[in-house]
């Protein structure tokens, strides 16, 4: 049996990206031995798929890519690796696809402790196993100290969409209900707190989780889901504005129905930020036919990833592309996409 090469360095250095023996040590010891599957173990330049085996899941491929840059790399409830796996799974899942294979591209800054990198790779493996996907191909680059921010990860994913599913932002229709699968803003607030700038004594965890199983439950309850997106950067506000623009409709939310944890509300109050603009890593927003909304809601609530699901609004007649939120007093305000980045107010 072939002996696996071992990585002995404590920190990443430029030789780990040189294409030589040190790089081979890194790839075999960290990535291949951890991700461990026949496709990757073959150490070819590409993963190869048998088309018939893909066809058993459906008739169309879904293909997506995303890059992950986050500071800090580790935060309560996850790390950059779990984000990279679940984020790409979710980008596939919201099309109704069954996620199957991922690639993993890593850009590592010289000087990164190998122990941290190993922990991240192990987290990726655990997240992939939990979701039933395989990381089958990858790439490693090392950049000089000061030219990166410890670690950037790119993951690309392939999934298969079962027959008859047609989910698209442009399909939202007047009368549809708007559903979210739980508390919003957890990830954005957790990252803000984890940076340690705020000195807030609060417990906040990312909501990072895969959503494909929840999507299966949702499709079983309502095969005609109209629009679904995961509400990552830009938050729920951005997704709803995209729906409204794409389908030429208006969306009206009821603020009192939107699930937001008290701690997240507290962070927003202190800093003058809006949870609807915070990033999420395990939340989706959907527009669904009104007549199946209640049944769908109950189905979602039966799954752990949708336990706090709620109907938060509806698609209405009105200026195309406009999202309006009804406040607790019956007043209304426009909910726009995030402009620039969210910046705390001075007082």
């Amino acid at each position: 049996m072939k002996k696996t090469r071992k990585l002995h360095a404590s920190h990443i250095n430029m030789s780990h990206g040189s294409g030589g023996k040190a790089m081979r040590d890194l790839i075999e010891d960290l990535f291949v031995s951890c991700f461990d599957n026949p496709q990757l173990n073959a150490l070819e330049d590409q993963a190869r798929f048998d088309l018939q085996s893909l066809q058993q899941y459906g008739e169309r491929l879904a293909f997506t890519t995303d890059s992950y840059v986050v500071d800090p790399l580790f935060f309560p409830g996850g790390n950059i690796g779990t984000l990279a796996v679940n984020g790409t799974i979710n980008d596939l899942a919201v099309s109704g696809a069954k996620p199957l294979y991922l690639s993993c591209g890593m850009i590592i800054e010289e000087g990164m402790p190998v122990s941290e990198l190993r922990e991240i790779v192990q987290s990726m493996k655990a997240a992939a196993d939990l979701a039933g996907v395989q990381i089958v191909t990858g790439d490693t680059k090392v950049v000089p100290h000061g030219k990166g921010d410890k670690l950037f990860i790119n993951t690309t994913g392939i999934g298969v969409i079962p027959q008859g599913i047609e989910i698209s932002a442009s399909r939202s229709k007047v009368g549809d209900k708007v559903i979210v699968n739980g508390y919003i803003g957890d990830h954005g607030a957790a990252i803000l707190n984890a940076r340690g700038d705020l000195a807030l004594d609060v417990s906040l965890e990312t909501d990072c989780q895969p959503l494909h199983e929840l999507m299966s439950v949702m499709l079983a309850a309502c095969p005609d889901l109209h629009a679904v997106r995961d509400a990552s950067r830009g938050g729920v506000a951005t997704v709803l504005n995209e729906f409204a623009e794409s389908a030429n409709v208006s969306i009206r939310l009821d603020e009192s129905c939107i699930p937001v944890r008290n701690t997240v509300r507290g962070v927003c109050e202190i800093l003058g930020l809006d949870a609807l603009h915070f990033a999420n890593e395990g939340k989706l927003v959907a527009t669904v036919p009104a007549d199946s909304a209640e049944a769908l809601l109950h189905a979602m609530q039966s799954h752990p990833a949708g336990r706090e699901a709620a109907i938060i609004g509806e698609v209405v007649e009105g200026p195309a592309g406009r999202v309006v939120i009804k406040t607790g007093f019956g007043g209304e305000r426009i909910l726009d996409m995030l402009v620039g980045e969210q910046l705390p107010r001075i007082c």
């Binding site: 109050e269 007093f329 305000r333 107010r345 001075i346």
Partner: protein, 374 residues
């Protein structure tokens, strides 16, 4: 959420709105023209829009969004000065988040940061002082801005820097003071304001007394107001009672946080570190006498204006900008020639479009203005 939800109770809001609707009928003056009530503070503007309060009020009340956003009234020349300091070698320039996007004559701090200047967002001046202690080989500058609300924390930071003998920390002082500004508005020839919602946070520091000239010399009522929606509605109701009864007094709705005589310790720190400037330039309002503070001689070693070469130029606002008229309540934000066209939150031409507390930005983001059809 405790101590928050209590001030957002829809039933209480409805009851207050009913009372407001009733009382305006008892004020003959508002049958001829709407009563103009100015909320001085940008925090109030933000709450008014966030909770859609303006639409719930009767047509007899017109809210005028005043000059109380320190970011909005920051003149362009001052932003240029910040960038000139930040771009000097070996400098770490620190600032509150919402000052990052304010346009200077050529660029904003955010753009200067993208161009390579070491500009960092902090949440308090103490964070900037910590940064100075951690980076003894750098010169760390804190961009101090804001009204009396933020002035004490800056003063306490300088006192701390002096006590600890930190020698690489500097303050670029742009703190401003609210009273001369309200006076300038009251002295404006086109002044039509009937009453004021007083700034809650500023009043926590200065107390009630400094506002007394408003009732005594100008016969206008002022109610110091908290920032929650119920605070604002109750304060409006208190103002309307005064107007109905033809009284002009200084009242305090925000008693849970505002002591009558202010915060003595904070005021002491402020007076130890700062002294009034002869005049200070305001964006949209021009120069207002004694409306800003500067660092006293005894703290000169921390004064960025003395330590660094700053251009200190007065840059005129863009001609198309009507921020000044909006600030004085002469026109509404959407009546400005460039609102929603050349001037949007993404490309702010005027300062009022920059911060979420600026009335133009608030109207753009929260107001039911059909921007496409302006």
């Amino acid at each position: 959420m405790k101590f928050v939800d209590e001030f957002r109770d829809p039933d209480m809001a409805k009851s207050l709105l009913d009372k407001i609707n009733q009382i305006v009928k008892e004020i003959p003056r508002c049958q001829q023209r709407p009563l103009q009530i100015m909320e001085v503070c940008g925090g109030h503007t933000h709450s008014i829009f966030r909770y859609g309060l303006e639409q719930l009020l009767p047509k007899e009340i017109e809210l005028v969004h005043g000059p109380g956003c320190p970011v909005c009234v920051l003149p362009m020349g001052r932003v240029d000065d910040c960038i000139a300091i930040a771009e000097q070698p070996n400098v770490i320039f620190t600032t509150f988040g919402d000052a990052m996007r304010v346009p200077g004559s050529k660029k904003s701090l955010l753009q200067a940061k993208a161009g390579g200047a070491d500009i960092r967002m902090v949440y308090s001046p103490m964070d900037a002082l910590q940064l100075a202690k951690k980076n003894p080989d750098k010169q760390v500058v804190f961009f101090g801005l804001g009204f009396e609300t933020t002035m004490p924390s800056t003063a306490l930071t300088l006192l701390q820097a002096k006590k600890e003998g930190v020698s690489n920390f500097y303050l670029f002082c742009n703190h401003i003071t609210i009273i001369p500004t309200i006076k300038a508005i009251l002295d404006s020839p086109d002044m039509t304001i009937d009453g004021f919602l007083g700034p809650g946070h500023v009043s926590m520091i200065i107390g009630q007394k400094p506002y007394e000239f408003i009732s005594r010399h100008y016969q206008r009522p002022l109610v110091i107001a908290g920032f929650e929606p119920l605070d604002i509605l109750q304060s409006l109701y208190m103002l309307l009672i005064q107007i109905r009864d033809e009284r002009a007094e200084i009242e305090n709705q925000y008693t849970r946080l505002v002591p009558e005589s202010g915060n003595r310790q904070a005021l002491q720190a402020v007076s130890e570190v700062f002294e009034l400037r002869e005049f200070f330039e305001w964006r949209g309002l021009g120069s207002i006498d004694h409306s800003g503070v500067q660092i006293r001689q005894s703290f000169a070693q921390y004064d960025a204006e003395r330590h660094f070469i700053v251009p200190n130029l007065t840059i005129a606002d863009p001609k198309a900008c009507q921020c000044g008229e909006v600030l004085k309540g002469a026109i509404k934000p959407w009546q400005c020639k460039v609102f929603g066209k050349e001037c949007t939150p993404e490309t702010p031409l005027g300062a009022l479009m920059v911060s979420t507390e600026g009335s133009c930005s608030a109207y753009y983001a929260y107001g039911k203005i059909d921007v496409d059809n302006l």
